[in-house]
Symmetry: C2
Subunit: 364 residues, 2 copies
């Protein structure tokens, strides 16, 4: 087991990464002294597949478990669900010290985190992420969110968890496409901050795709350590440090939005966004073509897309111009100026964006 710390003064917490940690959850959580009633937000599939292990582990340490299932879809990230869950907590954990567990992927983490952030103006919560994407990214850093009809993640609060428990054994039941989607974010960490991780991915991608536990523990803990370090320096994304985590996400979000969040999943769209960011970096002379080729080769080897299909260039550009990150201002991109090193550039000419997009469109 690896332990990684997020340093945020009185909001500091640990991320535990290991194989079989779910079975020890009761012991670990009892030691935290955050409450006696564990209110667990999850979905039906996860409760069926792994709920018994968690329930038994909590019961061994006399922690009461209260289960709340939400549909396994982005639609669950709503004010209506938050209202339903907060009401349910007061009803079912009445007169008890309650803490909230997000037991699921990004949807459950964002929603349960939001509920914890607002319930009694801030209640303790713990992330037990069950997807690779959630283990390396969304469970760390305290961003919680619900969606508005006008856009995703437009309402939320920064509310740090008390602990993150990442059990790589939970990844065994994920389908291949979900694992690959999570790998896009792992590639991101490697490209922006960690040459060692990049070379590990180049050499071991087959082991990773075969879900070798040791390989998964290595990439999850390495990724979590990078995110923890960045969040520790810039919790609320005010200093252009946390901003570097948006590498690949400017065009990634635009591609997702242009396709109405159908077609590519988040990881696939981010993979394409990273390639576009590298392409821009090459054209601006910031990074060599050799590095660009290595990034593309790794992304392809992991089974992620390297060509954009099914959406016209104009729609991507339009979606990108509405990006919530630069409302009313110049565009802003996280670019590469070396493997493991980023630079933020604003006001990239539209002509250049068109060129790199056109070059990445699949010839159909």
């Amino acid at each position: 087991m690896k332990k990684i710390s997020v340093h945020l003064k009185e909001r500091s917490y640990d991320i535990l990464v290991g194989s079989g940690l779910l079975d020890q959850a009761g012991k670990i959580l009892r030691r935290l002294h955050i409450g006696d009633c564990a209110y667990i937000v999850t979905n039906a599939r996860l409760r069926n597949s792994h709920g018994a292990i968690l329930a038994t582990s909590l019961a061994r340490r006399r922690l009461k478990a209260v289960w709340m299932q939400v549909p396994d879809t982005e639609k669950s990230k709503s004010f209506a669900q938050a209202a339903r869950i907060t009401n349910d907590i007061t009803r079912r954990c009445r007169l008890q010290r309650v803490f909230i567990i997000a037991f699921g992927g990004g949807v459950v983490g964002d929603l349960a985190g939001f509920v914890a952030a607002v319930y009694r103006r801030g209640s303790p919560f713990v992330q037990i992420p069950t997807t690779l994407l959630a283990q390396v990214d969304s469970s760390i850093g305290g961003k919680t969110a619900v969606d508005l009809t006008s856009g995703k993640n437009l309402a939320g609060v920064f509310h740090q968890p008390k602990l993150v428990i990442s059990d790589v054994q939970l990844l065994a039941t994920l389908d291949r496409r979900q694992v690959i989607a999570g790998l896009a974010e792992v590639v991101k960490y490697a490209v922006i901050a960690d040459g060692v991780l990049f070379r590990f991915l180049e050499k071991n991608y087959k082991r990773i795709l075969a879900k070798d536990p040791a390989a998964l523990e290595f990439i999850v803990s390495r990724s979590a350590a990078i995110k923890a370090k960045i969040v520790s320096k810039d919790e609320r994304e005010l200093k252009f440090i946390r901003t570097t985590l948006n590498f690949g996400h400017t065009f990634g979000h635009a591609i997702e939005a242009a396709l109405g969040y159908r077609g590519y999943n988040h990881g696939e769209a981010v993979a394409l966004g990273m390639l576009l960011a590298v392409d821009i970096s090459v054209r601006l002379g910031l990074v060599s073509g050799t590095i660009a080729k290595r990034v593309e080769a790794l992304i392809a080897a992991l089974g992620l897309p390297v060509r954009i299909r099914g959406v016209p260039l104009s729609k991507i550009l339009k979606a990108q111009s509405h990006d919530k990150k630069f409302t009313g201002k110049k565009n802003r991109f996280v670019l590469l100026d070396g493997l493991g090193s980023t630079i933020i550039r604003e006001g990239i000419p539209l002509g250049l964006l068109r060129q790199v997009l056109a070059a990445r469109l699949a010839q159909s």
Copy 2:
């Protein structure tokens, strides 16, 4: 005009108290540099009576005003309203730097503050409180809230405003009962922390009830200064300092809840709660009967109730035992050990609570 500062490092802000400040809102807000689009949450009555002054003042400084009216009732403090308003902001202030103005009493302040707290994970907001209660209490300190079906204020976030503008001229259109309700909180500040304010109230209650602007400015600024000082020391009520503001609220809330939030308004219930807290203090030998008599005489002179009517003792005790402030623990009361000095005591015997309640019940 008086300026009072709340000291909370990067979240510090000023409270401006004066007569006719609404007319200067545009100039004051422009200097804050918090945005160009003022999204104003209010109710129909206030927009009709005072909206034109605010609109003109904003327009003079080229601040765009976008108005959102909510019903003037506690029911507006809901997740559903928060969802409606956040969606409306994205639609009507698209591509603009938006800040939110809470232009109203406690309901508007709690709701608009909650919206500001969650919109894009925290947006700037300004309180322009229009009731005495909001000017001396709810607009200061960053508590935002919506209600759950299971209880009031059970969901919320701490989110400090960027500024509070308290224009005592706005109090001129309040009905007498609303002013008197606000005076209960002013009495609270005087009793727990400010002998000078207490003597001012004793001498000047007639001027205050006649809404003399200078007298109002004195009591509002004096009250705001006490709250500002307490919030500066204990923003999130973690150190038993902000707790002292609950003086009179333990039984106050219980009386409100026992009556189903009909009958007494918040100020009237708090007046009764303060008298009960003083009664307990006297019985415990913490404070003299002379002080108790002065507190009761002042409360009566202001037109606030000194006898409990229309609700049986047993219902009040039951509601009090469900107080969210001491879920699963011993009861806790803020008591008086001198005029302007408080002490917190836990585990007050039920027998004593019964005695003081019984003595305060009106003989009908």
